[in-house]
């Protein structure tokens, strides 16, 4: 099997048009800000009419060298452990083989390449636990770009591993709030030196820092349609791999933070379904954290992509941009909203969602580690648990095939496993 040559843009096949990004009524200029801080080719990807978008050669090369195609594996150990073997077949697509250990690299590579096309010298982003920051630092180094990552101060202290790794990659990791931006200074002035930081504040700092120099570009890690599109390499590979196995899935499962691994994994299948070409009975299950249950408990409306309204608003399922989720190990699923296309498809009933509590998720992670030999990222473990539930359900109805996306490994999240 080879790497797909094209990304899939589901907007072309949606049953209804995708509501566009808009400026907040009370805060103009967010869209044009976006257009001026993002790599311009990313903006193009975000506003693409084409169903298929050619993956640039340089990105393909990087995909190949970093481990794409990623494996699709039969989860025989999991089947046995669940007692569904013989009736239900479970497969998983494994993105943890990528060097930063998660799917985040798929879009980071494209975005860093795009920044280099703009003649940028530096990329900038924010990070919580560090998955995205590490992916950006990695991708940036591949295209010889400097990296500055605003890392929430509390994570900066507690997540020494990813911070050190980013630094080893040459990234400058700045605890946020910092004294490098007006937003940072204001926060420090208001709350004192001990400010733990927040993702909203880190975004504001990253954007402000990006704006201060025209050779900087800001890279977003999820939620944008372009990001979901970049991730469709996952699903496109999976589709071909399942075909090679001669397998027709009954349910696809992935976890949802902003929606990029879910969209990346399911959209190629969902698109074929929407076009009426295949997968008539295929179900799509989104596994979210009960700490941030936007798809199951959120409202469908326009809301800010970030709490500080630095970025535009999207029409999506949201818990409100100021929602503060309870502490969990799954930092990547704490986002308050879900990508516009995913929200639309959920709204229309094409996608089902389930919110899962962390203790059960981590128990599933342990079961999976023992039965399959891979320690899942806490985020990805939501997909594991949801897949277990689906497998059990199928088993009680005569059998079937569950395929889920294992978006990353948990080697650096070992505290979650304690």
């Amino acid at each position: 099997m080879d790497i797909p040559r094209r990304w899939y843009n589901i907007a072309a096949d949606l049953p209804e048009p995708l509501p566009p990004l808009v400026d907040p009524p009370e805060r103009d200029g967010r869209i044009s800000l976006l257009a001026s801080i993002l790599p311009s080719r990313l903006i193009e990807d975000e506003y693409r009419l084409d169903r298929w978008v050619l993956i640039p050669h340089e990105v393909l090369e990087a995909y190949r060298k970093l481990g794409r195609p990623t494996p699709l594996a039969r989860a025989r150990g999991m089947e046995k452990q669940l007692g569904v073997d013989g009736r239900v077949r479970i497969y998983y697509k494994y993105e943890g083989v990528l060097p930063t250990g998660s799917h985040k690299l798929n879009t980071a590579i494209a975005q860093a390449y795009y920044a280099s096309l703009d003649g940028a010298s530096e990329v900038v982003t924010e990070t919580g636990a560090g998955q995205w920051g590490l992916a950006v630092a990695t991708a940036a180094s591949l295209f010889s770009l400097k990296t500055t990552v605003f890392m929430t101060a509390s994570s900066y202290e507690r997540k020494a591993a990813r911070r050190t790794l980013m630094a080893a990659l040459g990234a400058r990791v700045v605890p946020s709030p910092s004294r490098e931006t007006r937003s940072g200074l204001e926060a420090i002035r208001a709350a004192g030196e001990g400010h733990p930081g927040s993702l909203g504040l880190a975004i504001a700092e990253a954007v402000e820092y990006t704006l201060a120099d025209e050779h900087r570009r800001y890279l977003p890690g999820s939620v944008l349609e372009a990001v979901l599109m970049h991730q469709t390499v996952i699903g496109l590979e999976a589709e071909e791999q399942l075909a090679e196995e001669g397998v027709e899935p009954d349910v696809l499962v992935a976890c949802v933070g902003g929606g990029s691994n879910f969209g990346g994994f399911t959209y190629p299948f969902l698109g074929a379904r929407l076009r009426g070409e295949a997968y008539r009975k295929l179900r799509f299950v989104a596994a979210e954290s009960s700490a941030a249950p936007k798809l199951t408990r959120g409202e469908y409306r326009y809301d800010g992509l970030d709490s500080s309204l630095m970025l535009p608003m999207a029409k999506m399922y949201t818990l409100g941009k100021d929602y503060v989720p309870p502490a969990t190990h799954s930092a990547g699923l704490r986002y308050h909203g879900a990508a516009a296309s995913l929200s639309l498809l959920k709204r229309m009933g094409y996608i089902e969602a389930v919110a899962l509590p962390e203790d059960e998720v981590l128990a599933a992670a342990r079961r999976f580690a023992r039965s399959e030999g891979i320690i899942p990222a806490p985020e990805s473990a939501h997909a594991v648990l949801a897949a277990e539930l689906e497998a059990r359900r199928l088993a009680s109805r005569g059998g079937g095939v569950v395929v889920f996306n294992l978006s990353g490994h948990g080697l650096l999240d070992y505290e979650a496993m304690m």
Binding site: E16, L18, D28, I31, S32, R41, R48, L49, R51, K315
Partner: protein, 254 residues
């Protein structure tokens, strides 16, 4: 009545910067404009950029009602001998329940069409009712599509014989035209076959306009840049751009 190909359209927010200035600006632009796109002042012009948004805010302070605004548009256009379509967000008019009366009012103003940018995004189920209302009132339907739009819906719209399909290219604000914009226009052209394709957002020079036309659009519309030029250099400056674009298009058709 069909629109000219290639065509050039000027967007203006009705009553901006004031009813009289609006009227004289329209007048000034008319010789170089094939048809106007006139926006009803809105509280929340959702899909518009900052420049246009501010025209809405200012215009809102100058006209009291929809009727007043439409009468102003109608008067200005007929005095200039110009064709026009009206652009407004259905949301501003009470959504679905406001559709019919809105269509009637717009039809009465002498507009060729009513363009509702939020129709397909926020009220996709209202498509048939909109087309029906438009036709019943002697309007041709006009549709707003984004550059991230389902292909089957573009085809469906084309099948409804609209006056035009407006393709929003936002937010391509770079100086040179990004490749994706060209490919979006070309693909839209393919999907809607010979329907009239009006492309807008982020056009501010004859070169860009030509590029968009060459990619497959029938017409381009300029809005924000006209408002900016007007603020900076008055109606002359705005008309300068409009006429330069129109000239370039005509020269190209040659």
């Amino acid at each position: 009545m069909a629109l000219s190909r290639p065509g050039y359209s000027s967007y203006l927010t009705i009553a901006w910067p004031s009813p009289s200035e609006f009227q004289s600006l329209l007048h000034k632009l008319a010789p170089c404009t094939d048809f106007f796109e006139l926006g009803l002042p809105a509280r929340n012009p959702l899909y518009d950029g900052p420049t246009i948004r501010s025209t809405h805010r200012e215009a809102l302070r100058k006209v009291g009602s929809r009727g007043e605004a439409l009468r102003l548009a109608s008067r200005a256009a007929s005095e200039a001998g110009a064709r026009f379509i009206v652009m407004t967000y259905l949301w501003e008019h009470g959504g679905p329940r406001g559709l019919r009366s809105l269509v009637e009012d717009v039809a009465a103003s002498g507009a060729d069409a009513l363009l509702l940018p939020d129709l397909l995004f926020e009220y996709p189920g209202l498509l048939v009712e909109y087309v029906d209302a438009a036709k019943n009132n002697g309007l041709q339907p006009a549709f707003f599509a984004s550059s991230k739009f389902p292909h089957h819906i573009l085809r469906l719209l084309a099948g409804m014989k609209p006056l035009l399909i407006y393709l929003g290219l936002q937010p391509a604000t770079g100086a040179s035209l990004p490749v994706a914009v060209k490919s979006n226009v070309a693909l839209a052209r393919e999907l809607i076959e010979d329907s009239y394709l009006l492309a807008g957002f982020a056009i501010r020079s004859p070169e860009t306009a030509i590029a968009v036309i060459e990619a497959g659009a029938d017409a381009v519309v300029v809005g924000s840049e006209l408002a900016r030029l007007y603020k900076a250099g008055g109606a002359e400056a705005a008309a300068g751009l409009a006429c330069a674009i129109k000239k370039a298009l005509v020269a190209r058709r040659g």
